[in-house]
């Protein structure tokens, strides 16, 4: 293994060559002027603006996966989330098409821009999940796909000549669609979330929530929350990753009150009180998607996109990916750096 001998040689070399730099203890800043304001401003805070500019220039990747049985409105919901046709709705399996024998993974990418910020959005659909008669282990292709993206990233990271910006295809967020039965979770739901919550951020959502009354919704949510807790399923935002008290307070509220979000999706607009709104028209009224008294879509949207988008990416990178990486390093006794020539010889190791 490469890591071993190299390390010890270097540590010895390091101590010989340069005497350890004398580290003076950190001093808090004492402005020298009497009136600090007059002489006070350096301009350190402009670094925030520099970073903002950089984010805007380079744009960012976001990869969202949707998992759930056919017909739960996954594509419609994603289209509603991003206000564009980023996912192709299927109209069910007709006689000519066959239900895929195994779960398929379909990733479609779009570049969308808003307020000067460019996002390369990839929606990963999983048709066939839960649609068979025998659904045993149907989460395996999904877990495999997720790990393959970690592997891809890792390979690029250990390369000798590596790209400045490693393309990020890792799944940042997995929306899991729960059927609104009103009773409880299904065994498949539990199995999936148990396995996958360890490798990816799972956000459970109750689909087609307009089939439940307010009371039924509240009861169902409570029951689902209880079941998730009893089965030790840590969905996003995971308790153990709350960074500070501020995060914990904010996330506790979301975990204990709002989640799982009971959502309704729609890409059709109707006129309500003089405004154009997205909704579903029924004889007994129009269900407004973005109306918080009708469903929790707006909460989901704000949560995923407006407040926790960056955090979803960071937890994926700093926690899930690092867990995968550590496991790989331990399994192989250290990953050697790769060049094009060594690729073949190391293929078998990986």
């Amino acid at each position: 293994p490469c890591a071993g001998p190299v390390e010890s040689k270097n540590e010895a070399a390091m101590s010989e060559l340069v005497p350890e730099p004398r580290q003076k203890p950190a001093v808090p800043m004492k402005p020298m002027g009497i009136n600090a304001n007059l002489l006070g401003y350096i301009g350190i805070d402009t670094i925030i603006e520099q970073m903002r500019k950089k984010t805007m220039k380079t744009g960012f990747d976001f990869n969202i996966m949707v998992v759930g049985q056919s017909g739960l409105g996954k594509s419609t919901l994603v289209n509603t989330l991003f206000k564009s046709q980023v996912s192709r709705k299927s109209s069910g399996w007709n006689r000519e098409e066959k239900i895929p024998k195994t779960v398929e993974i379909k990733a479609i990418g779009h570049v969308i821009e808003e307020g000067g910020v460019k996002m390369k959005l990839t929606v990963i659909d999983t048709p066939g999940f839960g649609d068979q008669i025998n659904n045993e282990n149907c989460w395996e292709p999904i877990e495999k796909y997720i790990n393959e993206q970690y592997e891809k990233f890792l390979k690029e990271e250990v390369n000798i000549a590596r790209k400045k910006r490693i393309p990020d295809t890792r799944v940042h967020c997995c929306l899991y669609f729960i059927s609104p039965t009103g009773h409880s979770l299904r065994p498949l739901d539990l199995e999936f979330m148990k396995h996958l919550s360890k490798v990816v951020n799972i956000i459970p959502v109750i689909a087609k929530a307009d089939t439940m009354t307010l009371e039924e919704k509240t009861e169902f949510k409570q029951r689902v929350r209880k079941e998730l807790e009893v089965n030790g399923i840590e969905f996003y935002p995971q308790k153990e990753f709350d960074e500070d008290l501020e995060d914990k307070t904010e996330n506790d509220k979301i975990r204990q009150d709002s989640m799982p979000f009971a959502v309704v999706g729609s890409d059709k607009e109707y006129q309500v009180n003089g405004k154009r709104v997205l909704g579903r028209k029924t004889p007994w009224g129009i269900i407004e998607v973005e109306n918080l008294t009708h469903c929790e879509f707006a909460l989901l949207r704000d949560f995923v996109i407006r407040t926790h988008l960056q955090d979803l990416k960071e937890v994926t990178h700093n926690i899930h990916y690092e867990t995968y990486r550590a496991k790989r390093l331990n399994d192989n006794g250290g990953l050697p750096p790769m060049t094009a020539e060594t690729e073949e010889s190391h293929e078998s190791n990986l």
Binding site: C2, E7, N10, L17, V18, P19, P21, K24, P25, A26, V27, P28, M29, K30, M32, G33, I34, L38, L39, G40, I42, G43, I44, D45, I47, I48, Q50, M51, K53, T55, K57, K83, S84, G109, H110, V111, I112, E113, E114, V117, M119, I160, A161, R162, E243, D244, E269, R276, R301, I305, R306, T307, H308, L309, Q310, D311, E322, A326, P336, T342
Partner: protein, 305 residues
Amino acid sequence: FTQLCFSCQFSDSAGYVGFANLPNQVHRKSVKKGFEFTLMVVGESGLGKSTLINSLFLTDLYPERYIPGAAEKIERTVQIEASTVEIEERGVKLRLTVVDTPGYGDAINSQDCFKTIIQYIDNQFERYLHDESGLNRRHIIDNRVHCCFYFISPFGHGLKPLDVEFMKALHGKVNIVPVIAKADTLTLKERERLKRRVLDEISEHGIRIYQLPDADSDEDEEFKEQTRASIPFAVIGSNQLIEVKGKKIRGRLYPWGVVEVENPEHNDFLKLRTMLVTHMQDLQEVTQDLHYENFRSERLKRTGK
């Protein structure tokens, strides 16, 4: 990939998704985390390096300075001294480390004096590479040198042989910003002449100093050009406050007048400071993407298999 572009209003109108808010989310996390920056200063004794650093960051990084006499300096080799100061401004926290190199250029025979410096820089790269390749990467500290101010003496006719050798040896390892020290010993004309000499010699020897990136569309193109045209910056530093026209300013009091540190007509101090703080992000990026990656690929090629 398909390209869908929106011209979007910033309100909660139909069509607004909300990911334009991402920079704010990133910003919030960065403010919480704070920033780290390491600046190295290199130059002969007595060129005003410490005074300049104190002036730049409005602090007193060297409170009890002991200045050794010549006899003591004979035996001394180059030292590396790192001081860290925590600066907070408008909620943004910066952990600034200034790496000083006392002894540089002091010895009668200065042949090896920059080897220690090169080794220090390499060691920080080495440490980072080691941490980056390790198992637990959650709290990697970045002690790599992001920028090096190289002080050129105003007393000569341009670069000295040591200056040239140093810069040639280090331009592939760190962002070099050449600075003409104690600029108040020169008239404006002499300053221009010296600047031109220095730039000519830099280009003659193929030395790659830090290049300012091109101005973005919304940045002041003219200001950027002016800044670029002023390199190398001719600066003055001072630890003293002098009263001028009722205001207390940093300066140097001579019988013939007062030299004001922050007066752009007297010297390039403000330009240097502005350049540094508005390019901290870029300096770090170039260190990471260019100097560190070069080091890393060299190291891995050497020990790869």
